[in-house]
Protein backbone atom coordinates (compact mmCIF):
# COMPACT_ATOMS: atom_id res chain seq x y z
CA UNK A 1 0.00 0.00 0.00
CA UNK A 2 1.43 3.36 -0.99
CA UNK A 3 1.06 6.21 1.47
CA UNK A 4 1.64 9.70 -0.04
CA UNK A 5 3.41 11.93 2.39
CA UNK A 6 3.54 15.66 1.92
CA UNK A 7 7.07 17.05 2.25
CA UNK A 8 7.40 19.84 4.85
CA UNK A 9 10.24 21.63 3.03
CA UNK A 10 8.70 22.52 -0.28
CA UNK A 11 10.41 25.07 -2.50
CA UNK A 12 8.19 28.01 -3.49
CA UNK A 13 7.33 28.11 -7.16
CA UNK A 14 9.88 30.08 -9.22
CA UNK A 15 7.12 32.04 -10.90
CA UNK A 16 6.35 33.73 -7.53
CA UNK A 17 9.86 35.25 -7.20
CA UNK A 18 9.00 38.34 -9.22
CA UNK A 19 5.88 38.92 -7.14
CA UNK A 20 7.87 38.62 -3.90
CA UNK A 21 10.55 41.01 -5.18
CA UNK A 22 7.90 43.49 -6.33
CA UNK A 23 6.23 43.46 -2.93
CA UNK A 24 9.64 43.99 -1.28
CA UNK A 25 10.25 47.03 -3.52
CA UNK A 26 6.91 48.52 -2.47
CA UNK A 27 7.73 47.78 1.19
CA UNK A 28 11.10 49.57 1.05
CA UNK A 29 9.71 52.55 -0.83
CA UNK A 30 6.90 53.00 1.69
CA UNK A 31 9.38 52.69 4.59
CA UNK A 32 11.65 55.31 3.00
CA UNK A 33 8.86 57.86 2.66
CA UNK A 34 7.70 57.65 6.30
CA UNK A 35 10.39 60.09 7.53
CA UNK A 36 8.80 63.34 8.80
CA UNK A 37 9.43 66.38 6.64
CA UNK A 38 6.80 68.88 7.73
CA UNK A 39 8.13 72.01 9.30
CA UNK A 40 8.56 75.75 8.98
CA UNK A 41 10.22 77.83 6.30
CA UNK A 42 12.57 80.51 7.54
CA UNK A 43 14.22 83.30 5.62
CA UNK A 44 17.42 84.72 7.07
CA UNK A 45 18.96 87.26 4.69
CA UNK A 46 22.68 87.07 4.01
CA UNK A 47 24.81 89.24 6.29
CA UNK A 48 25.78 92.40 4.51
CA UNK A 49 28.32 94.85 5.77
CA UNK A 50 26.27 97.97 5.17
CA UNK A 51 27.47 100.85 7.26
CA UNK A 52 24.57 103.06 6.17
CA UNK A 53 21.99 101.05 8.08
CA UNK A 54 20.34 102.90 10.90
CA UNK A 55 21.40 100.50 13.61
CA UNK A 56 20.05 102.69 16.39
CA UNK A 57 16.46 102.08 15.25
CA UNK A 58 16.74 98.31 14.86
CA UNK A 59 14.74 96.16 17.25
CA UNK A 60 16.99 93.83 19.22
CA UNK A 61 16.14 90.52 20.83
CA UNK A 62 18.82 89.16 23.14
CA UNK A 63 18.72 85.64 24.53
CA UNK A 64 20.64 85.44 27.80
CA UNK A 65 21.10 82.39 30.08
CA UNK A 66 17.94 83.30 32.03
CA UNK A 67 15.94 85.83 30.02
CA UNK A 68 14.82 87.01 26.61
CA UNK A 69 15.27 90.78 26.38
CA UNK A 70 13.46 92.85 23.76
CA UNK A 71 14.79 96.32 23.05
CA UNK A 72 12.57 98.55 20.91
CA UNK A 73 14.08 102.00 20.24
CA UNK A 74 11.45 104.77 20.22
CA UNK A 75 8.86 102.40 21.64
CA UNK A 76 5.36 103.86 21.59
CA UNK A 77 4.20 102.02 24.69
CA UNK A 78 6.84 103.76 26.79
CA UNK A 79 8.62 100.50 27.62
CA UNK A 80 11.59 100.26 25.26
CA UNK A 81 13.18 97.35 27.15
CA UNK A 82 11.11 94.38 28.19
CA UNK A 83 12.51 91.29 29.90
CA UNK A 84 10.85 87.88 29.80
CA UNK A 85 11.85 84.75 31.68
CA UNK A 86 12.96 81.88 29.44
CA UNK A 87 10.87 79.43 31.46
CA UNK A 88 7.70 81.50 31.09
CA UNK A 89 5.07 79.20 29.50
CA UNK A 90 3.51 82.24 27.79
CA UNK A 91 6.84 83.47 26.40
CA UNK A 92 5.82 82.96 22.77
CA UNK A 93 2.53 84.85 23.17
CA UNK A 94 4.13 87.71 25.11
CA UNK A 95 6.94 88.11 22.58
CA UNK A 96 4.53 88.03 19.65
CA UNK A 97 2.32 90.69 21.27
CA UNK A 98 5.24 92.98 22.11
CA UNK A 99 6.84 92.70 18.67
CA UNK A 100 3.56 93.06 16.80
CA UNK A 101 3.03 96.36 18.61
CA UNK A 102 6.58 97.45 17.90
CA UNK A 103 6.42 96.61 14.19
CA UNK A 104 2.99 98.02 13.46
CA UNK A 105 4.34 101.40 12.29
CA UNK A 106 7.35 100.03 10.43
CA UNK A 107 6.61 99.68 6.74
CA UNK A 108 9.82 98.96 4.82
CA UNK A 109 11.80 95.73 4.99
CA UNK A 110 14.78 97.54 6.50
CA UNK A 111 12.65 98.86 9.34
CA UNK A 112 11.21 95.45 10.05
CA UNK A 113 14.58 93.86 10.72
CA UNK A 114 14.88 92.27 14.15
CA UNK A 115 18.43 91.55 15.25
CA UNK A 116 18.66 88.34 17.28
CA UNK A 117 21.71 87.94 19.47
CA UNK A 118 22.20 84.78 21.45
CA UNK A 119 24.40 85.55 24.44
CA UNK A 120 24.21 82.02 25.74
CA UNK A 121 26.01 79.35 23.72
CA UNK A 122 24.00 76.60 25.37
CA UNK A 123 20.59 77.96 24.35
CA UNK A 124 18.61 74.93 23.16
CA UNK A 125 17.27 74.78 19.61
CA UNK A 126 13.61 74.56 20.72
CA UNK A 127 13.87 77.88 22.57
CA UNK A 128 15.58 79.58 19.63
CA UNK A 129 12.83 78.30 17.32
CA UNK A 130 10.18 79.59 19.73
CA UNK A 131 11.73 83.09 19.80
CA UNK A 132 12.30 83.31 16.03
CA UNK A 133 8.77 81.99 15.37
CA UNK A 134 7.36 84.80 17.51
CA UNK A 135 9.40 87.36 15.54
CA UNK A 136 8.17 86.01 12.21
CA UNK A 137 4.57 85.83 13.37
CA UNK A 138 4.82 89.48 14.38
CA UNK A 139 6.03 90.33 10.87
CA UNK A 140 9.71 90.82 11.63
CA UNK A 141 12.66 89.90 9.41
CA UNK A 142 15.29 87.98 11.35
CA UNK A 143 18.94 88.81 11.16
CA UNK A 144 21.56 87.02 13.22
CA UNK A 145 24.06 89.00 15.22
CA UNK A 146 27.14 87.31 16.56
CA UNK A 147 28.74 88.47 19.78
CA UNK A 148 32.34 89.33 19.12
CA UNK A 149 34.89 88.05 21.60
CA UNK A 150 37.84 90.34 22.16
CA UNK A 151 40.88 88.86 23.85
CA UNK A 152 42.58 91.36 26.13
CA UNK A 153 46.18 90.58 26.95
Amino acid sequence: MNIRRQSLLTEPPASATSDIAFILIIFFLVCASVEPEEGRQQVIPKNEKDEKKEKTKTINVDITPTDVIVNVPNSRDGRPVETYKREDPALHARLTAKLTGALVDRAGDEQRVVAVMCKDDSTPYYLWMDVTDAIEQAGGIITLVREEVVNVQ
Binding site: A14, F28, A32, E38, R40, Q41, D121, S122, Y125, L144
Partner: protein
Protein backbone atom coordinates in the same frame (compact mmCIF):
# COMPACT_ATOMS: atom_id res chain seq x y z
CA UNK B 1 12.94 33.07 -14.19
CA UNK B 2 14.44 36.13 -15.92
CA UNK B 3 11.56 38.20 -14.60
CA UNK B 4 12.55 37.30 -11.07
CA UNK B 5 16.15 38.35 -11.68
CA UNK B 6 15.10 41.66 -13.18
CA UNK B 7 12.80 42.40 -10.27
CA UNK B 8 15.54 41.47 -7.80
CA UNK B 9 18.04 43.78 -9.50
CA UNK B 10 15.45 46.56 -9.45
CA UNK B 11 15.01 45.97 -5.75
CA UNK B 12 18.77 46.28 -5.11
CA UNK B 13 18.87 49.43 -7.27
CA UNK B 14 16.08 51.13 -5.31
CA UNK B 15 17.51 50.16 -1.94
CA UNK B 16 20.96 51.55 -2.83
CA UNK B 17 19.39 54.71 -4.26
CA UNK B 18 17.38 55.20 -1.08
CA UNK B 19 20.45 54.70 1.12
CA UNK B 20 22.44 57.43 -0.70
CA UNK B 21 20.30 60.20 0.81
CA UNK B 22 18.86 58.28 3.69
CA UNK B 23 19.25 59.86 7.10
CA UNK B 24 16.84 57.59 8.96
CA UNK B 25 19.72 56.20 11.03
CA UNK B 26 20.25 59.60 12.69
CA UNK B 27 18.94 59.77 16.26
CA UNK B 28 17.08 63.04 16.82
CA UNK B 29 13.83 64.43 18.19
CA UNK B 30 12.25 67.45 16.49
CA UNK B 31 11.32 70.67 18.28
CA UNK B 32 7.66 71.73 18.52
CA UNK B 33 5.99 73.98 15.99
CA UNK B 34 2.62 75.09 14.70
CA UNK B 35 1.14 75.60 11.23
CA UNK B 36 3.68 73.27 9.65
CA UNK B 37 4.07 72.98 5.89
CA UNK B 38 5.66 70.44 3.55
CA UNK B 39 8.91 71.45 1.84
CA UNK B 40 8.84 72.26 -1.88
CA UNK B 41 12.00 70.31 -2.66
CA UNK B 42 14.06 67.78 -0.71
CA UNK B 43 17.39 67.87 -2.44
CA UNK B 44 19.60 68.72 0.55
CA UNK B 45 19.23 67.87 4.22
CA UNK B 46 21.42 68.84 7.15
CA UNK B 47 20.90 67.05 10.45
CA UNK B 48 22.30 67.37 13.96
CA UNK B 49 21.76 64.35 16.18
CA UNK B 50 21.48 63.84 19.96
CA UNK B 51 25.28 63.84 20.26
CA UNK B 52 25.62 67.15 18.37
CA UNK B 53 27.09 65.48 15.29
CA UNK B 54 26.37 67.23 11.98
CA UNK B 55 25.34 65.28 8.87
CA UNK B 56 24.93 66.42 5.27
CA UNK B 57 22.50 64.22 3.31
CA UNK B 58 22.94 61.50 5.91
CA UNK B 59 26.76 61.53 5.83
CA UNK B 60 28.68 62.58 8.94
CA UNK B 61 30.67 65.75 8.22
CA UNK B 62 33.31 65.29 10.89
CA UNK B 63 33.52 63.68 14.30
CA UNK B 64 35.63 66.26 16.06
CA UNK B 65 35.52 69.45 14.00
CA UNK B 66 34.79 72.73 15.79
CA UNK B 67 31.97 75.06 14.78
CA UNK B 68 34.16 77.15 12.44
CA UNK B 69 35.30 74.02 10.60
CA UNK B 70 31.70 72.75 10.30
CA UNK B 71 30.65 76.13 8.87
CA UNK B 72 33.49 76.08 6.33
CA UNK B 73 32.82 72.46 5.30
CA UNK B 74 29.12 73.05 4.83
CA UNK B 75 29.63 76.30 2.91
CA UNK B 76 32.03 74.71 0.45
CA UNK B 77 29.76 71.72 -0.16
CA UNK B 78 26.59 73.78 -0.55
CA UNK B 79 27.89 76.57 -2.76
CA UNK B 80 31.16 77.09 -4.60
CA UNK B 81 30.96 80.30 -6.68
CA UNK B 82 34.27 79.55 -8.43
CA UNK B 83 33.26 76.14 -9.73
CA UNK B 84 32.44 75.31 -13.34
CA UNK B 85 28.74 75.01 -14.29
CA UNK B 86 27.40 71.82 -12.73
CA UNK B 87 30.16 71.80 -10.12
CA UNK B 88 29.08 74.70 -7.94
CA UNK B 89 28.00 72.59 -5.02
CA UNK B 90 24.68 71.07 -4.00
CA UNK B 91 22.82 74.40 -4.26
CA UNK B 92 25.04 76.12 -6.81
CA UNK B 93 23.03 75.74 -10.01
CA UNK B 94 19.55 75.63 -8.54
CA UNK B 95 17.18 78.56 -9.14
CA UNK B 96 15.65 80.48 -6.21
CA UNK B 97 12.60 78.66 -4.90
CA UNK B 98 14.25 75.26 -5.36
CA UNK B 99 17.13 75.79 -2.96
CA UNK B 100 15.36 74.33 0.07
CA UNK B 101 17.60 72.82 2.74
CA UNK B 102 15.87 70.55 5.26
CA UNK B 103 17.16 71.13 8.79
CA UNK B 104 16.67 68.17 11.11
CA UNK B 105 18.06 69.45 14.38
CA UNK B 106 17.61 67.66 17.68
CA UNK B 107 15.42 69.79 19.97
CA UNK B 108 18.03 70.16 22.76
CA UNK B 109 21.01 70.98 20.52
CA UNK B 110 22.94 73.95 21.97
CA UNK B 111 23.22 77.18 19.97
CA UNK B 112 26.97 76.78 19.41
CA UNK B 113 26.27 73.68 17.27
CA UNK B 114 23.26 74.79 15.20
CA UNK B 115 24.24 78.44 14.64
CA UNK B 116 27.10 77.57 12.21
CA UNK B 117 24.70 75.37 10.21
CA UNK B 118 22.02 78.08 9.90
CA UNK B 119 24.64 80.66 9.00
CA UNK B 120 26.31 78.44 6.38
CA UNK B 121 22.99 77.62 4.72
CA UNK B 122 21.94 81.29 4.69
CA UNK B 123 25.30 82.40 3.29
CA UNK B 124 25.04 79.76 0.54
CA UNK B 125 21.64 81.19 -0.46
CA UNK B 126 19.77 78.18 0.84
CA UNK B 127 16.13 78.39 1.88
CA UNK B 128 15.81 77.02 5.40
CA UNK B 129 13.11 74.50 6.20
CA UNK B 130 13.15 73.47 9.87
CA UNK B 131 11.62 70.02 10.31
CA UNK B 132 9.39 70.23 13.40
CA UNK B 133 6.70 68.29 15.20
CA UNK B 134 3.15 69.64 15.45
CA UNK B 135 2.54 70.98 18.95
CA UNK B 136 -0.49 69.36 20.62
Amino acid sequence: MAMGDIAFLLLIFFVILARVRDDSHIQWKPADGTELVKPETMRVSVAIDRDNMTYLNGTLLSENADSAAIRAMLSSKLYNPNGAPGQRGLLGDLPPGRRTVLLKIHRDTPYRYFEPVIEAVSEAGGELHHVLEEKN
